[in-house]
Amino acid sequence: MSKLPKSDEYFSKIKHDKTSGAEWMDTPTVIREGMFCYAAKPASVETLGLPFPREWNPLHEDWKLPENWKEIIHKGFRDRLERFRSFKVFMDICVRCGACSDKCHFFIGTGDPKNMPVVRAELLRSVYRNDFTKVGKILGKLGGARELTLDVLKEWWYYMFQCTECRRCSVFCPYGIDTAEITMMGRELLNLLGLNIDWIATPVSNCYKTGNHMGIQPHAFKDMLDFFVDEIEEVTGVLVEPQFNKKGADILFITPSGDVFGDPGTYTCMGYMILLHYLKVKYGLNITWSTYASEGGNFGLFTSNEVMKRLNAKMYAEAKRLGVKWILGGECGHMWRVINQYMGTMNGPADFLEEPVNPITGTKFENAKSTKMVHIVEFTADLIKHGKLDLDPARNDHLKVTFHDSCNPARGMGMLDEPRYVIKNVCNNFYEMPRNCIREQTFCCGSGSGLNASEDMELRLAGGLPRANAVKYVHDKHGVNMMACICAIDRAVFPPLMEYWVPEVDVTGLHEMVANALIIPGEKEKTVDLRGEDILDKEKVGTDEFYTRPSFSGR
């Protein structure tokens, strides 16, 4: 007993007031459970022939690095500075003005200064100065330079995977530095040593082998969609008949596989199926799904540009094989960054495809001239604008909706108004979150860029705090009970985020709401939506009307 510390001795050892106040470079990085994703499985690294597949654990002292790891990083760094002009410029021009520092959701949520975008970039830039600039070599730490050590490498890994590459910081940078691209370069360098996370490496490997992140084989992919066909028939009374791998179809439809395999994305997928069926019946739209190009997402983006290119190529290959005119893409986030910013030059130009024209309205999608790929929200907005859809927004009256601008469609392709236009046409209760949390200033979900695992839940919950905070505001003020979004990762990660911060708010894709509002030829009287939830409030309309309804307009 005498060996036990006295309570005041024990208490004095607990650091619970002011922090040490050290500069970031002097603050050691502690890798904490809940803040990182597990290491990549060797088999997944091997699939694409990426270097140094091995079992390793971020919490262990020994990361089993190759002996010449410093040389590999140095060469890789130099190589990228030479190949990517933007990277070189981003390394040189930052004046550390601090405009970006408080704009990152991870900094705001975790309170960790190394998550300030400027500091995250400095993690790399400090080594750049030391290895590649004279001033850095001479001034050393005084000039913000430091040597690459094992601790620095581990710090890189920890913080490069605490950035979702959402680019909110870049909106505020007066020099236009895209910190997300610095993270991308950081991750590329780490991949040279086999230091990927499994939540990225395994989906990449799956996608390379089977065509989608989930590793679903073609027959299983079709089975899942057939299952949705039954569900849709049960709710609407309409039998939809999606086409698969149809040669000679006009349009190829590709969506993230998350929509096919995870709630609530599955309802969005049913939404696409209902819309495409409607367009087929009413206007003869000839569109096909593919069981090979069965993934719109591209986790290669979070690995390296070479891997991204290899995964992206299958979309074009399949479009060519089927002989379609152009590609329609589902609601996804980073998929659109790849398409809008990289695909045209990476695997394009796809001259064998036609410049996309909506066959129903005649609208030319000039923005997709190079990529030949159109976002389904643009497509649907165009249909609504031309009065081609019979919609009854009252069917979504049980929802009070807000809209989360997914980072990549918003900041990566500037799609800000189309989703709002669609929402306002399919539901009657729409409430915006405050101005500095939406459109190009939107806050990230906190789980993008391959960080949507469950082992890093604390990181995700802290990173998603700024977004959840704005959702809570519209929930408290307007009674918002549904957040719409146009990204499959959003749909997968928001439910747990909401459960922690705003449990009263649920999550939906846009096309789930579109399908619920759509008056489908031959549909039965609907009392429930795609989720099987009552469209009407029994207490408000009375039992009689509740069971005999609906007398929706347009029927």
């Binding site: 650091k15 007031d17 408080d102 949390c437 919950l461 505001y473 922690y500």
Partner: protein, 179 residues
């Protein structure tokens, strides 16, 4: 608690709560605490805003009836944030509650010396201890929520993997699961 102490604390409320706020934000690294103090926008700085919005009412509750539900409602948002922030250990996450004792002692030096409020102050500090216990409950509740979210995510993933592998068969509604 005597009226005298309540009056004193009410008079000094602004100073005490401001100091309390400073101490809470100084539990973060200097760059972070500077940000938490300076940005007033509730959406650009949700953490700082959450702390500043809740400490005042929390203090009011302490010097009045300290109704459990009301007290909890002001403490909960602050602890919920700290429960997922990686820079804190468990004790660091809730220690700010106890720092209020020090602030009050500092602010009531003269009165304590003159022994006007010493006995009452002991009673009041017991209330702060009570607040500490509520904070502990909230912290654990939040951590348990995190674990349950994690477990559910894993469960869902396992279930869907089984489903995809065709290992899940639904029992028809008209058949008893025991037959």
């Amino acid at each position: 608690m005597s009226i005298q102490l309540v009056n004193l604390l009410e008079q000094k409320k602004t100073t005490i709560v401001k100091k309390w706020f400073d101490l809470v934000v100084e539990t973060y690294q200097p760059d972070t605490s500077q940000f938490l103090k300076s940005r007033k926008d509730a959406f650009a700085n949700p953490v700082g805003n959450c702390i500043s919005q809740n400490l005042g009412p929390l203090f009011d509750e302490l010097i009045s009836k300290m109704n459990y539900e009301t007290t909890r409602s002001f403490l909960f948002p602050i602890i919920r944030v700290r429960a997922v922030q990686p820079t804190f250990s468990s004790s660091q996450a809730i220690a700010f509650v106890f720092s209020l004792k020090e602030i009050i002692r500092e602010n009531l030096k003269k009165e304590i010396r003159e022994k006007q409020v010493a006995d009452d102050l002991l009673l009041f500090e017991s209330k702060i201890d009570g607040l500490g216990l509520i904070a502990f409950d909230i912290f654990m509740e939040c951590r348990e929520k995190v674990y349950s979210i994690k477990a559910n995510e894993e469960r869902k993933r396992t279930f869907s993997a089984f489903e995809r592998a065709g290992l899940i068969t639904e029992i028809p509604a008209n058949r008893s699961s025991l037959s």
